[in-house]
Symmetry: C2
Subunit: 207 residues, 2 copies
Amino acid sequence: MNMGSEHTSTNIVWHESRVSRQFRHEAFGQQGCTLWFTGLSGSGKSTLAFTLEHKLIEAEFKSYVLDGDNIRHGLNNNLGFSDEDREENIRRVGEVSKLFADAGLIVLSSFISPFKQDRQLVRKIHEDAELNFIEIYIDTPLAICEERDPKQLYAKARRGEIPNFTGISSPYEEPDNAEIIIPVTYTPEQSSQHIFDYLKQHQIIKP
Amino acid sequence: MNMGSEHTSTNIVWHESRVSRQFRHEAFGQQGCTLWFTGLSGSGKSTLAFTLEHKLIEAEFKSYVLDGDNIRHGLNNNLGFSDEDREENIRRVGEVSKLFADAGLIVLSSFISPFKQDRQLVRKIHEDAELNFIEIYIDTPLAICEERDPKQLYAKARRGEIPNFTGISSPYEEPDNAEIIIPVTYTPEQSSQHIFDYLKQHQIIKP
């Protein structure tokens, strides 16, 4: 992989899609948008994302979960866990989320994404494309995530078997300006309903 | 970018989406699938893809065009035109197409994709995920593409200003087993109708 090569833009021309965003919006009965779930490992991001996806599709809205674990088996299977690779991981997922939102879907992107700078980049990618970006912070304290530890990752990290583990040996930078904060007291169903209501209020989906 | 680092899979677990493919299929009224448009620069791939996308959305089917030119502004903006980068370009688009198809969309991926090996990889990515992959060869002869030359790329390539230009200084390997071949005599509307009928016949979309 030559990732350092200059981007030769001479033979690239932007093709405007023949289908306008408005046309797509009306045909789908929803606005495309990205719901970006951020929080510690074990905070409940993916459980919430899958619960909400089911609720949305049942209500005939089109949605899809991009998941931090799942995407590494495909698109990002050539990335490791170095700082650079983690940054590229989030950048690619941000770009793919943008494509899904542009396609008119409600995409639920569930990634630890511990660094403000990375989340800010993803937000900017959406803003530049005039697409909705809704940051959702799953505010589950470290102690509870560590107690749950469904994959025994915290235990391994404490033993020093996983380097740069978020919350243990690498920081999690809490969002300052998340659109939605999910407190630990909410069940997945309550959280899911809360976000569903938010989407209606903001006319992302039809009331 | 450290692309050579080993893929550390110890802390990756596959999350099964709570929404089954069948449930999604019924809710959307269509099967997800990838239509892979391959052919020379100027063959008419993108024009056809955008024409078909419009026709599908007008008929209330969910579809989206991934375009060779467009995607390089975002997801693949860190790739150049070396052999390795071209291969990675197609691989990433293949993985993103798979995600769209898995999400239940009809994704129209329009890329020169001149090498059989790359197209075979993308087909395999879909087959492994049990998703429909339909290769569409836009069989427009080089002489006609060169005569059209809307972006004056062939002229530049003939002057040696663009290295490795498909059809001039780099080969285009014709598909042996494309599901659909579009002859040069078809208009975009005829081609679009032809593919639309194919999708109905194969029950990708409701008749």
